[in-house]
Symmetry: D2
Subunit: 315 residues, 4 copies
Amino acid sequence: MAQPGPQTEVPIAGGVVPPLCTPLTPERELDVPSLEKLTGHLLGAGVHGLFVTGSTGEVGYLPDSTRHRVLEVVAGVSAGQVPVLAGVIDTATPRVVEQARAARRHGADALVATAPFYVPTHPAEIAVHFRRIRAAVDLPLLAYDIPVSVGTKLAAETVAELAADGTLAGLKDSSDDLDGIRTVLETVDTDRFLVFSGSETMADTGLRLGAHGLVPGLGNVDPDGYLRLHRAATAGDWALAESEQVRLRGLFHLIKVGMRRPMSRYSSAIGAFKEALVARGVIEHGTTSVPMIPLDEAERAEVRRFLVEAALLPE
Amino acid sequence: MAQPGPQTEVPIAGGVVPPLCTPLTPERELDVPSLEKLTGHLLGAGVHGLFVTGSTGEVGYLPDSTRHRVLEVVAGVSAGQVPVLAGVIDTATPRVVEQARAARRHGADALVATAPFYVPTHPAEIAVHFRRIRAAVDLPLLAYDIPVSVGTKLAAETVAELAADGTLAGLKDSSDDLDGIRTVLETVDTDRFLVFSGSETMADTGLRLGAHGLVPGLGNVDPDGYLRLHRAATAGDWALAESEQVRLRGLFHLIKVGMRRPMSRYSSAIGAFKEALVARGVIEHGTTSVPMIPLDEAERAEVRRFLVEAALLPE
Amino acid sequence: MAQPGPQTEVPIAGGVVPPLCTPLTPERELDVPSLEKLTGHLLGAGVHGLFVTGSTGEVGYLPDSTRHRVLEVVAGVSAGQVPVLAGVIDTATPRVVEQARAARRHGADALVATAPFYVPTHPAEIAVHFRRIRAAVDLPLLAYDIPVSVGTKLAAETVAELAADGTLAGLKDSSDDLDGIRTVLETVDTDRFLVFSGSETMADTGLRLGAHGLVPGLGNVDPDGYLRLHRAATAGDWALAESEQVRLRGLFHLIKVGMRRPMSRYSSAIGAFKEALVARGVIEHGTTSVPMIPLDEAERAEVRRFLVEAALLPE
Amino acid sequence: MAQPGPQTEVPIAGGVVPPLCTPLTPERELDVPSLEKLTGHLLGAGVHGLFVTGSTGEVGYLPDSTRHRVLEVVAGVSAGQVPVLAGVIDTATPRVVEQARAARRHGADALVATAPFYVPTHPAEIAVHFRRIRAAVDLPLLAYDIPVSVGTKLAAETVAELAADGTLAGLKDSSDDLDGIRTVLETVDTDRFLVFSGSETMADTGLRLGAHGLVPGLGNVDPDGYLRLHRAATAGDWALAESEQVRLRGLFHLIKVGMRRPMSRYSSAIGAFKEALVARGVIEHGTTSVPMIPLDEAERAEVRRFLVEAALLPE
């Protein structure tokens, strides 16, 4: 087993940082060979970082032991080539600090934490929360703004305050609030504070507004697409970035294949990402966590048709 | 140390089942002597059960090791006198199953679990969630309906379906939806399915509608009051139950002492419960978890005035 | 035509005050003969008041001219026998004042107004809103608390403040917050401030908590049931009140007949009430306003089966 | 008085279409001379259209007679130079149809209507709603997507369906959902369906994504800024558009001047726009509708400082 750890610490940087899917066996154990292959597939494409145990990685479902093993495997394969960011997702500060300490031990180069959830929290308490995590674990800390899961939006004022005092090294925005991203970018030192957009469909716009990087779930399936988009944006070729985005917007409709049946959009989206990775030969099984509803054969065929149309699979 | 465990399994029953506060030292470690004393204080009053690691117990803040220790301590003191119910609070099924297994090992007689949170979930998935927990751990399972934390209300239809097939042994309602409680009571076998109201302020109404038990956070502070209310209700003396409820409604305003300052209502309420327990000589410190805002001296004095008015403290 | 107006002013009182359906012709004009018959049907049953242009009366759909005509017709038939309350529903203060003035002209004995909606409003502005309406039109003013429509819940503190200074004569609660009703009843002078529960299914509980009256939409269909319930409650026979409530709870499931098709629960509920009135021979047509989806033949038959089961229709 | 009406019908087009403030006298009557001057101020700047009785125009507060007079005054001053769009804001279809008929009579060239609000509505019913309005009044109809007021977001599928069948001629987006705007633009015939962004702060991004026009409330205060931004965008000079946007983003903070006191953000924003128009000599009074809280002297001074900084007022 690779022995990752803080000694291999790698500075986080912008660019394309896909939130890795977590491959499972049909018995719903971690499928380590598939995870290694997925990591290699992304590194081979040239991604700038790897984000593990995020929403796309089914973090809310994974037991701690699985979260740790995921991190070890990915940090081991990456071996310092690119920074590994770890989602440290739990309800409130003492539990998040425990997650953060474990993530550091298991090879994280940076931490991504939400505001408290489940417990009702005041903005003044949110600032305390991030400060305590930062004080407890000496790794760069990014705030994860994901209102659909946390129930509240991180205020731009709170982010700015925590950027100014060095608590936060960055923001991972999954709120689809581009105006908010712009406000944050106006109020932080953009040389020292990195903003990542979690949007699959507005990545070009996010970069144009000044975001440093992208964390698209669809980047598991088509990392080359997001890398082309990012290169075009970096070169100032916005027309090319936009045309790549238009193509990726079309492909992204694959997340809806299950929505004609009673299931959460999450079951449909994660199921579709995993099925696409199976179809592309990257992972072994499309299995998702309990209690997500598995895609049926017709839905899986529809995923493959999306890939054929996108020329990611031969006809 | 007491060696609690499933061998001391006690059938759950209705009645007054306070959700225990979790006493902390000023360093925010578990204050075991205070927890033992609190447990004794409640058992001495004659409560019918003990609910640990619920919202009043700051479960969202407690690391797993603390959750386990709380359970061991309380189950050790109770030693089979009354059933010990444990909140097994985590984001989705595999994590909740781990919490449930640990709770069984550490002495729980029954489990109390919410629907998944943080991860978007469809009603069909919620049914799968509870069935998997029940199949994984052989203890009575109660659903915990707490929309303010989970983000969604448990549908009465889902509860009825899971009651009928034996998945759920009961419901702990913290949704303040008395109409919903009534609907559940109309659709389940009330000899085999127990409904607990989590309301401090509508306990008499809940019992009148047929609820089997009460889980009032304020029951930490004034267990005698809720026991009198419950006895009156059981005897059919609704006027007496109501007059006790009116008194407890007045006392319950102590949860608002902090609300003139920027803090969550949770910081104010848990802080007030703990300060009241300190004032009554039950626990040692009023310390609450990070990132909750501590009450200040004026607010603590206001808590004591509430107790004096309620004749729970000499003038 | 009767010439209603303030000269026939009747003091509002508690009791059963059904929110009248607004019968329409197939061409969606006001069906005056049906409305007269409905009014007579309710007066004949012995109701204590009549509430027109509320949610059950499709007020959100009715043009002003129809609202006025409804009021004239009902006030004309009632002719001072019982007070006629009018919903004066509009987005913000100047528009509500116009509605209120018109309602007074067309025969209202009291006004029922919500907080502003559509326009974002601060609690401080809500108090100004009610004070201006009361100052502009000299009729008793009730606050209508209906969060599902308005988007916010009226704070008990605001109600208490506006009760104390004489702005409000009462509250019509459609928030299903029984704890809130109890808080209001604890903080107002219950001899001068009347609380009405809008719940069909918790009417007995509302009365037990001290509410003065009931405004149940289902009271259009079965006024006798709610009157029996109210009489039992007034006589202190809570077991009888409860058994009547249990029966009415069963009948109330008729509002769900349309919910297997894509329509709002409002289309289903209002459609069911009107179909039941047609089946009982009270009104001529089940027509509802645009854009509500009409019930189909199978759904209408299901409504009739509910009535047969409730012995409101011969088999 | 000008005699406006459908005979002066003007095709709607993209560009800058400010949503006019509605000037009031201190007695809260319509201030006609100020409204004429405001209209002239905007026409003189070169705006491409005028949008009356929108949210910035306090439509939720204005009685019908005032709404009609506003439209007459503005249509009269414009006299066919640019199209006049009218918000026809009411709770449900029959009431909106009445508003639409009146707007046509009083000089509107196009109508802007929301989905039903106050009444719970199903998406299938929303489609019926727009079709009935379009069928009833022969003017171009735009959907107004303003979730903060209506409570729900218009689904892109519904907009696409109603664009395809000719019901809708366009969309006025006040949802700040740029991804949604992009989806609509991908699915409609952009030669025949116009998309307007209501954002003050993301106007450049909206135009870059293909939106046809802008409806910025701040355009009352600084029409020249938005016109420069729009001209730059039309010329493909995105850097210039962006720098103008950055300046306008700074100026837009003036809407927060009142937020340190208890008032709605609406009171603060509309108050600030009107105070700025007073300071620039365009209108006479800063009066806003009841129950909005008026700005105090310090807040008004702060508005003027914003204008000085933006070089819209001499120091």
